[in-house]
Each structure stands twice: as C-alpha cells, then as structure tokens.
Amino acid sequence: VIPAAFDYEAPGSVAEVVSLLGDGVHVLGGGTWLVPEMHAGEVRPRRVVDLGRAGIDAITVADRLLRIGAMATYADLLASADVRDRAPLLARMAAGITGGAAIRAQGTVGGSLVAARPQSDAPAVLVALGGRAVVAGPAGERRIPVSELIAGPMRTTLAADEVLVAVELAAHGAGCGYVKLKRGESSWPIATAAALIEAGPDGRCRTARLALGGVAGTPVEVELSALLGGAARSPGVLADAAAMAAAAIEDPWEDVLAPAAYRAAVAGPVARRAIDMAWEDATTWS
C-alpha cells in the first residue's frame, strides 16, 4: 500500500508532461524503481506524471541517428532490428538485464538513465556509445551528452521542470564487448564494462571506447585510443589497457554487496575481458 496520497496524471503529449512538472513531482516510467519506493514510503511525491501516454516509446532512425524513446523497454530494444544492426552493444546489454522477462518488459532505458543508479547497466553503456540525451523543458528541447546528464549517484542535471524524452546514438560498426560482474542471479551488477573497438583488416586497433559501470558513483569513461591505436591484440596490450582502466577509478563505489576495495580490484579484469571481447568481435565481424 502506498502510504501517502498523490495526484496522478497521464498526459498525452510531451508539452503537457512538461507543464505538469515541478518541485515534488515524480515522473513515472516503467515504475520498477518509483513504485516500490512509493510503497516503502521512501519517496512521497505530491504528483506522479506517468509517461505511458506521452508517445515517447518509439525506436526510430533519422539522419543516421538511432533514436531510443525514453519509454522504450529493454524488450523493445531486443525486438528492434535497428538496435541490433546499429547498436549491437545495446542489444547485448538488454539481453542480460537482471530480473528476467518481467523486468525487461517493464523497465525503460530512459528510466534507468534518469535513476542514475551506479549499479545499473544502461548508464555506462550509453556513455560508451557516446549517447546524447534529448531533454524537454519549458523552452523546448536541448541535447547534452549522456555523461553530462548524470550528475552523481542517483542524481541528474535535469531541472525540476525538465524530462528526458529520448537518447540519440550514432550507429557504430565497431566490435563490441560487454562484461557484467555480479554475485549471482539475484545480485545487482557489481562492475560492468562496455567496450567498442574498431580494427583494421590487419586486426590492429583503430579506435577504442570503454566505459565502466558500478565501480564508481557515475560511469567512468576511459580514453584508450592513444594506448590501443595501431596496436595488435596481445596479452600485454590488454593488460596495459586493464591497468589504465583500473587507474581511471578515483573514488570506488561501495554498497552492501561489495566494498570499494573489491570494485577497485575487479575493474581491471572486467575491463580487459570486455576489450578482448570487442576486439575479437571487431576482427571476426567484417
């Protein structure tokens, strides 16, 4: 039972959503976070604005950009040929979402991003993909890098009268790797690594992108192109990349499932495995 009264609105357009936002207003996406929090009395919104009828659940392609509506679910990602072809990393992430089919059909990419939980899959993956957040407010839309949308653990840079309506991604032809470390099927992710590698016909790395999740309060981008550019895949190179990834974590996250020291220790191995997987993918894909 939700212990506090609140107003419920389910407007039919983004403009109406924006007009209903403000202090004390919570936005309802898939509801996998908000509804349990309301039941537990941890949040007591005066108004809940449901995005379910706002028409922002489509996955479309325009101007070479893949646009994921904020209300698209993980199941929608898995069902989309555009996602599979243009952002296979996103499809790979969606297939491993904790909670099974029920959560995949309910949870939304936009919701995960705005919740900004350090342990969630989507934020670091969207950072690795160089995603841009489409934000609607009273003055219209603005676009910011996903990494700038996330302000800190469970915090975004959205103003009280703004709402995330989509994430835009440039299609990538890179090989991709995604590694998620968790303590068991029922565990939140402890550490995730999302890697994108482009390789030449000789197998040498051209470009590399890596983002780590779960290991710090916000996704950690690791600049690897200088290290890996022109390099051939070898255990030594992968070990150097892992060391660079581990060194990029300044303030490791900690929760009831794993202390900071553990996250700092596994970040390197998890990064190395994701890079290796992406490199393998890049050299077998074309």
Partner: protein
C-alpha cells in the same frame, strides 16, 4: 469395548452408534465424545547419562556425503558450483519425490549459506540486508542440477524404518562447498576461515595471500 476387571463388553460399533444418536441423553457435564489417546516412545531415547556420561536425545541420525566441484575465478573471486553430488541415507523412503525435494532444498540452502547469505549491519547497527537484492539466495541459474544418490538403511528404532530427510542436505553442503573453495585457492596460498565465501571475501583472501 470392555471395562477393565469386569465381565461386561459392548461392541465398539454399538458404542459409536449410541454416541452419535443418543449422546445428548447424558448429563450436561459429560462430553459425548469418543476419544483415544496413545503415546509413542522411541525405545532408544536416554535422557539420563549412562556410565560414560552419554545421552541419547534423538531417535535417528540420517547421514550424507556431499562432494562439490567448484571453479573459482582468481581475478574476481566469483565461485561457480559446477557439480554437487549428495549420497544420503534417510532410512526407508516413504515418498521418493518428497525426499528428493527435502534433500535438494536443504543442499541448496547449504550452498547459499556457504557462498552468499550474509546479514550485513552498518556501523550504527542498522541492518543493511533488507531484502533479496541485498541478502543473496541462490537461484536456479546459479546452480548445477543437484545429483542425488539414495542409500536405504532402515532405522531399527522407528515404526517404518524412517529417519529424517531434511537435515542431511544443509550442513554437509555448506561444508563441502566451502572446503572446495579453499581447496581451489590453496595453490595461491589463500584460505578462508569464515562463511560466506562470497566473491569479495574470496578475492580479499587471494589478494591478501599474494
């Protein structure tokens, strides 16, 4: 039905019929119920110590042997249970599917205790393990199929030769899995002396030994 010490008897059926059809002709203070009480005493219970000071407070002792094969990721401390075999003896098996379920359930509970289940408290004493996302139970996909072998040695001390079937899963599984983890990390010079053998604890032991 006969009255002790007297030469009078009535068939039981007549008594039952009288209680059913004429019970209310009795005085108000007399309950018109048929009632029988029996108590059973297992013959091998000993509540007073014998000459060696030994007590015998439980009727039967089921026993089991657990063999667990685990794989430990030395870089992350993640433990993967690859095989778990239980040979147990609960005496006469009355209902095989119930016994399989009891032993499997107990074994999984033991594996969970060995690897994941832990009450965590904050420095202020507030419990931090408040649900099944923070208190980790094994799920089906975390486990191999538990392989069961039944040995049937009927107990001479129970009516049907049965022994307990619920107990033999838990403790043996916990010990076998925990020992398997220690066996796996021994070449690294590492050893755990407390459950759970969770990934953070296993990795801390490995890194501490290096």
């Amino acid at each position: 039905m006969a009255t002790a010490g007297e030469d009078r008897a009535v068939p039981l059926a007549a008594v039952a019929d009288a209680v059913y059809s004429l019970g209310y002709i009795l005085a108000l203070g007399i309950e018109p119920n048929l009632e029988a009480t029996r108590s059973y005493r297992p013959p091998n219970i000993r509540h007073l110590p014998d000459e060696l000071g030994r007590l015998q407070v439980y009727t039967t002792y089921p026993y089991a042997v657990h063999v667990s094969v685990v794989e430990v990721d030395a870089e992350t401390g993640i433990v993967d249970v690859r095989r778990h075999v239980v040979a147990h003896d609960c005496g006469t098996v009355v209902n095989p599917s119930f016994v399989d379920g009891q032993v499997t359930g107990g074994t999984v509970m033991g594996i969970g205790a060995a690897l994941g289940e832990e009450f965590v408290f904050g420095d202020d004493g507030v419990p931090l393990s408040r649900g099944f996302k923070s208190y980790l139970l094994p799920r089906a996909a975390d486990l191999p199929e538990i392989e069961l072998e039944h040995q049937v040695t009927p107990s001479p001390h129970t009516l049907l030769g049965t022994k307990g079937a619920g107990e033999s899963g838990f403790a043996g599984a916990q010990a076998a899995v925990f020992n398997a983890v220690n066996d796996a990390i021994r070449p690294l010079g590492a050893r755990l002396d407390a459950t759970p053998a969770s990934a953070p604890n296993v990795l801390a032991a490995i890194l501490g030994a290096a």
